[in-house]
């Protein structure tokens, strides 16, 4: 039973199922278990038998050998290294804006990416951060295990400042294995481009999803305003009228374009989206456009 304001309500779960269908259709023709993104072919290959040890998966017991020898042997496969899809979700206080909030949208996106990774047989890692990494959940195996991620994500509140640079460094230091890294943030904080470039240089596949709320993309308030930063508490008084709003729009576009150019130059996918866009639209439309799924 889900709460009404639950980011992972029944409607969202239906969307996940829809995403799976779409994902399978988009990737039809490829072998099962292909990783999200650039796949590398078959996953398992038989290598040898070994004696059964308690805790081994029953599915891998070779019953033919048992029939002949009365001894339990399990089949060992030459297993290709499983891919990892890491989703870094910004949970700072600035993500609490919008209707629905950027954080809700980000949670849904993170869950969708993790789900698709599980569907593809990959390992899904969801990392939440504000000033530093707050929580990390790693799940692999069947797609039903997505519930572990949902449970962890459900009650994460927006809090703290945005520490993109430190969080990316911390993630990188704890994660030796190369993986696909999806950064979901409003990018309203210190510049983290150096860390992202470093990740890309070390073989990670970073992609950036910038989430903005409507009040950021199209502010409407005019008059004498005292703007208060939700994270730092700092204020700035401005007299906003139509001309200022138009100027703000230009600045915002420059900001987004700057990120787009940076990502393009480092072969990273970049998507800027509004938090009120439906997550399935975002994943299917925006991510397909951005080359994140085929």
């Amino acid at each position: 039973m889900f709460k009404h304001d639950d980011p992972f309500d029944t409607a969202f779960m239906r969307k996940l199922e829809l995403l799976e269908l779409v994902y399978r259709r988009l990737n039809s023709g490829s072998g099962a278990g292909e990783a999200v993104g650039r796949g590398r072919g078959g996953r398992t290959e038989f290598r040898e038998h070994r004696r059964y040890a308690p805790g081994d998966d029953f599915r891998y017991i070779d019953w033919n050998v048992f029939g002949r020898t009365d001894a339990l042997f399990v089949k060992e496969h030459a297993r290709e290294e499983r891919r990892t899809v890491s989703v870094l979700l910004d949970c700072s206080r600035s993500m609490g804006f919008g209707r629905p909030s950027k954080l809700v949208c980000g949670k849904q996106l993170a869950a969708a990416f993790a789900y698709l990774a599980l569907v593809a047989g990959d390992e899904a890692v969801v990392v939440t951060f504000d000033e530093a990494v707050r929580k990390s959940v790693t799940v692999s195996g069947q797609k039903g295990r997505i519930t572990e991620i949902l449970r962890e994500l459900r009650d994460v509140p927006p809090q703290g400042r945005t520490g993109l640079e430190d969080s990316l460094k911390e993630f990188h230091s704890n994660r030796g294995r190369r993986s696909m890294v999806v950064l979901i943030s409003d990018l309203m904080g210190e510049d983290c481009r150096r860390s992202l470039a470093m990740l890309a240089a070390k073989g990670f596949e970073p992609c950036v999803i910038q989430l903005l709320s409507r009040e950021e993309t199209a502010p409407r308030q005019t008059g004498r305003l005292r703007l208060r930063d939700a994270e730092t508490g700092r204020t700035r008084s401005l007299w906003i009228e139509g001309a200022e709003l138009r100027e703000y729009e230009l600045i915002l576009n420059e900001f987004i374009e700057g990120w787009r150019r940076f990502c393009a130059s480092h072969r990273m996918a970049f998507v800027a989206a509004c938090s009120d866009v439906s997550v399935d639209e975002l994943v299917i439309g925006y991510l397909r456009e951005g080359g994140l799924v085929r």
Binding site: D186, R236, L238
Partner: protein
Amino acid sequence: MSFLWPYGFLALAAVPAAVLIALWRARRREMPVPSLMLWQRLAERISDTVQRRRKLVDAALVLAALFALLAAGALAGPLLSVSAKPRRVVLLVIDRSASMNMKEGAGTRWDTGRRILGEFLADLPPADNVYIATTPADDPVRVGPLTPDEAARAVNAMQPTQRPADIVSDVAAALAAAQALRPFDTLVCTDTPERLPDGMNAIGVGGAADNIFFTRFASADNKVLIGVKNIGDERKTMLHLAADGRAVKKVPLDIGPDEEKTFILDAPDLADAQWVEIRIEADDSLRSDNYFYAAREPERRIRVLMVGEDNLFVKRALKADPAVEFVRGDDPGDTEGPLPYDMLVYNEAAPAKVRDCLTVVINPPKSFGHITVRGEVRRPEITAVADDPLTKDAGFSMININTARRITNGGTVLVNFDKGPLVIRSGKLVCMAFGLSLENTRWMLETGFPVFWAKLIGSASESRRPGLVYVRVGNEATLRLLDAETATRRIYPNGDPDAEYEVDGFSFGPDRAGIYSLTDGTRERTIAFSMLSPSESSTQGTSKTFDKTAQPEPAAHGERDVPLTGALMCAALVAAITCWYVKR
């Protein structure tokens, strides 16, 4: 500088309102944002424009206040006095009351006045400004400035109204309205010039002085009181008295010039009369004042008891008849002895017993006696069946019973009335029952509905009052009769407590045309109306002098008023547009 509508300055209240709105908008509000990062960049780019914006907002506030000031000034209708060539302003006040329709000689008084006014205007210098104001005050025409030629055309296009006028107060109202024009002179065209203030120029178009007219007329019991006055030369004429339209008496009248007579005439045939009319057989040209009418109070009011739920339509129809005394109460049931009512109306209730007086039962919830009501009256057919003895004796000849089924039940004859029965005993209608619902019929909203009840009341009256009395109450004037004053009674026209008429005995002579009602505090009844007042009848053809060549006073007319409303409105518009542009 003067102002046409000084109340327009009330719009100045908009100035503080505009200032308050601007200050309200300019107050600082706090707005949380996810990050100041982009706003910081904006602040760096527009740091110099913030101050400019502040100044512009101040300018917008000043412009908004200026707009409000200019708009208020424009609403006040300012007139700027500038030196100008002297130009005379002539105010014409023309009496358009009903009495101006009276025929005199070849034409009406109005025709005479129009002709004289045309001649007068043709002689005026073309540079004169003519303003026209007409009476009565409740239907005035105010036009001007016009050239004399335009004024003559305007007068030709006018017609008298059907309303009475009080020339004194109406002329005063017209003069007050024209005060701002500062007229050089005023000319009044009326048929009652003798009532105007001394020194006022007038064109009198009253009737010729060969007139005998009534000053008062009233009737009670078998007598009529007649007051006549002769302002002409003829002294002999005949008086014709009629009751309810039938001639009753004819008497000769001998009255000398300038003589006034009041006398009482016996008329035994007036016992059942509802309306009494007196007429002078005269050949004078003013025929309309040769008539006078009086309505007579019925000998005894018809008491109607309404039992059960209230019914607005029935109540209104019953109360429209001044002869009806409407009472609400409980069913008298088996009360011994005769009832103090002439008619019983049961609405949504059934009588415990059908009495001898007329009983009307509407929507009975159950059967009573032999009567069961099925269905509802939609619209009774109104076909006279005067030859039917039953309806004829009952004085009830409006229902078509030719197609209805009669039921004999002992001594009672039951006749179907549309969907309900009539009970007639010994030729007298005693009971009627029917259904009635606004959901199924609009009969209650039609004229036939009060007519139907008036017929019923007529049949309930012991005197078999013939004819329909359906008087709309709510007349132009109400006359209040104070019983405490026996020698002299006073009458106050409704809505005009300052006007007071002394009444000698039971007669009176209102000087305004219209229908009057007499009230003793609890009841009200129509009593008389008069086409012309004595003052209108006695008008002489007089005319006072108007100097068509006199020059206006330089002090009064050496300057001209230029209206500034348009200029102020334009300036206000410019201020509003600039304000909008600055705030954009």
